[in-house]
């Protein structure tokens, strides 16, 4: 019984949130949700659709044609050319798109390479498909960069895909064009798929350049790119996203998508249309705000430099500081110093210690892969007030 699910874990982020809910004054820097509400123009677009009575029925399985056409137009602005009729699929959030993709392109027993630390749910989806996640560590000392040599070593005859998040959650890293092209070369040489989750690509700071392999037409049969409206338009609850690739891949992925959800929620598809019709200005507003918050959280972490070391994120709204070994040795949670058996700072115990002592929720780095151990993820999707209060509390215990 439950053979398929027995090795699948509930997200550590959700577990932390659940624990934090027991503390009435807890401040959560754990969950990766924007504090903004969905913009008014999106709500109005949905109201209009409701009034016209067009949201009650299923849409076509790949999504409303008018939405897919808008998606194609928005992709074209970023030098990505995909046919809305056959190559764009609207999904119920990016995780549904990811699940449908993995299920479509793999067979049980295949391996999927994931640079880590990275988003927690990738591992579970790969496990669910009966495949094996193979973690390849990112180089923290080079700003969490991809190290191509390690990918070469990780490839086996069972490898089917390399699956990365760019910009990366939890590190906020943007992979360089050179790194990505090298990864693409490797995929070409070994006949692998590339899955690129780009949900944070709209929040880029300090004029850093962002490049997507979907801009390379020669890679379109190899690459599946996923994008979500959740972060860019503060629509996490609407569960709406899309993926695109060459029709050869999309026509297979759509079979799984159809079995899983029939179609993405139609009401949310109208919301997504509103987002694409007039949402650009809003993204700039969000991005500006996140940049201010990133600067604030870096400033506050700087004041705790005895406790944490960190790489300034270039994107997204996460920071992934490393817990100082000295601090972990000094702290005590009733079971001795906060160290793992290997003598590294234990991120899980540290996160719980912090929650109990300071009532600040953060995500243990180990949730993002073995290389994330010794770190914590903090979200600056929260308001400045919350960030300041959380750090005021932490300073009392960590300084």
């Amino acid at each position: 019984m439950f053979n398929r699910t027995k090795d699948i874990k509930l997200s550590i982020i959700k577990q932390i949130e659940l624990e934090a809910s027991k503390y009435p004054d807890a401040i959560s820097l754990a969950q990766g949700i924007p504090d903004f509400d969905t913009p008014e123009f999106i709500k109005r677009r949905v109201e209009k659709a409701l009034k016209r009575g067009v949201v009650a029925k299923y849409s076509l399985s790949p999504g409303l044609p008018e939405l897919r056409e808008l998606i194609e137009e928005s992709l074209e602005k970023e030098d990505m050319y995909y046919d809305w009729e056959k190559e764009i699929l609207v999904t119920a959030g990016s995780i549904e798109g990811i699940t449908a993709t993995i299920m479509a392109i793999t067979d049980p027993g295949d391996e999927v390479i994931i640079p880590e630390p990275t988003y927690t749910s990738y591992r579970e989806v790969i496990n669910l498909a009966g495949c094996k996640p193979v973690f390849v560590p990112l180089r923290e000392d080079r700003g969490w960069a991809l190290e191509i040599e390690k990918y070469k070593q990780a490839i086996t005859p069972k490898t089917k895909a390399i699956f990365y998040c760019n910009p990366n959650n939890p590190t906020g890293t943007i992979y360089t064009k050179e790194q990505l092209l090298e990864l693409a070369d490797l995929a070409e040489q070994n006949d692998l798929f590339l899955i690129s989750d780009e949900v944070y690509k709209d929040f880029i700071y300090d004029q850093k350049e962002f490049f997507s392999l979907a801009q390379v037409p020669e890679l379109r049969q190899r690459l599946i790119r996923i994008f979500s409206f959740s972060k860019a338009f503060a629509m996490t609850g609407w569960r709406i996203a899309y993926l695109h690739s060459d029709e050869r891949n999309v026509q297979e992925i759509i079979k799984v998508h159809d079995s899983l959800v029939t179609c993405a929620p139609v009401i949310s598809q109208y919301g997504a249309m509103g987002a694409l019709e007039i949402g650009e200005e809003n993204i700039a507003k969000f991005s500006h705000k996140y940049k201010q918050r990133r600067d604030l959280i870096c400033h506050r972490l700087q004041r705790l430099k005895e406790a944490f070391d960190f790489v300034t994120p270039d994107s997204a709204y996460y920071i992934f500081p490393k817990i100082s070994l000295k601090l972990a040795k000094k702290l005590e949670d009733g079971h001795g110093p906060l160290l793992t058996e290997q003598g590294r700072p234990d991120s899980w115990r540290f996160a719980f210690w912090l929650l109990r002592k300071a009532q600040v929720a953060v995500v243990p780095g180990v949730a993002f892969g073995p290389n994330g151990e010794g770190h914590i993820r903090m979200s600056f999707g929260r308001q400045e007030n919350d960030i300041d209060q959380a750090f005021d509390r932490m300073e009392k215990f960590l300084k």
């Binding site: 123009f41 044609p65 008018e66 137009e73 074209e76 050319y81 809305w84 190559e87 019709e277």
Partner: protein, 259 residues
């Protein structure tokens, strides 16, 4: 208050737009259909620029009772914010005196309810009208498909008598609109009767290759985009170019991406 403001805005913008059109007398190319309007507008604009004429197209969804006049007047939308509308209302009359008003306006015409097309065409009279296709998209505002098709019939009827209708021959509803019309009618598509006939199309890694028989002249083209709608858009651009070449001369032609 909200609906009163909308009514005021609608008629105010219409009045200014009619004045602007009367004074500047641009040639209007109307683009209608259930899909592909924006890609067609882009292609047409690119081809007109090759001919060295000035042209402006309406931004993506500016094709309704408020959007169309804004596009003609080259103004932003205030969307649902009153304070944003104030400078727009003040700026609108200044367009009457605008220098360098474009020679051509390429305007998407949206219709989602009965009467929409009639209203839009009370502001403009297209010299060339393009109908990309008619599908069940936006059908919810109409009693049936016949009623929806009637909107496009109105467009054909109100296009200048010495003008041109460019119609998709692969969509039988669109094809039928071209019957017994006083304007010059040019059909495009794979249909045997199309004057701009796509005889072959092939997808390659970096785009598509198509063969086009344009009134007896067969040429091969390569486009960097995917999907049949881009082939249609490209062909429409070529037709427009051919139609207007005599008017503006071939000397400014910068050529097309021919293989």
């Amino acid at each position: 208050m909200k609906s009163f403001f909308k009514i005021f805005l609608k008629y105010y913008l219409k009045l200014i737009t009619k004045l602007v059109i009367q004074i500047h007398r641009p040639l209007v190319i109307g683009v209608a259909g259930s899909t592909n309007k924006n890609f067609v507008k882009k292609e047409v604009k690119a081809r007109l620029q090759e001919l060295g004429v000035s042209a402006r197209a309406n931004p993506k969804n500016f094709n309704t009772e408020i959007g169309l006049p804004l596009a003609i007047l080259y103004l932003e939308s205030g969307y649902n914010e009153y304070r944003k509308w104030l400078p727009i209302i003040l700026k609108a009359p200044l367009r009457i005196f605008q220098k360098d008003f474009p020679e051509y306006l390429i305007l998407g015409l949206g219709t989602s309810d009965e009467g929409d097309m009639e209203y839009l065409l009370s502001m403009i009279k297209p010299q060339i009208s393009i109908i990309t296709d008619i599908t069940q998209r936006y059908k919810e505002g109409f009693a049936d498909m016949d009623e929806l098709v009637r909107e496009y019939e109105i467009l054909a009827r109100k296009t200048r008598k010495n003008g041109t209708l460019i119609l998709n021959a692969d969509n039988y509803r669109v094809k039928k609109i071209g019957e017994n019309k006083p304007q010059k009618v040019i059909y495009y598509g794979q249909d045997q009767e199309a004057q701009a006939r796509i005889t072959d199309a092939e997808k390659i890694r970096t785009g598509q290759i198509l063969k086009l028989d344009l009134q007896g002249e067969i040429k091969e083209y390569q486009i960097p985009k995917f999907g049949q709608h881009h082939i249609y858009a490209f062909v429409i651009g070529l037709i427009i170019k051919k139609v207007l070449e005599d008017k503006h001369g071939k000397q400014k032609d910068k050529g097309l991406p021919q293989t």
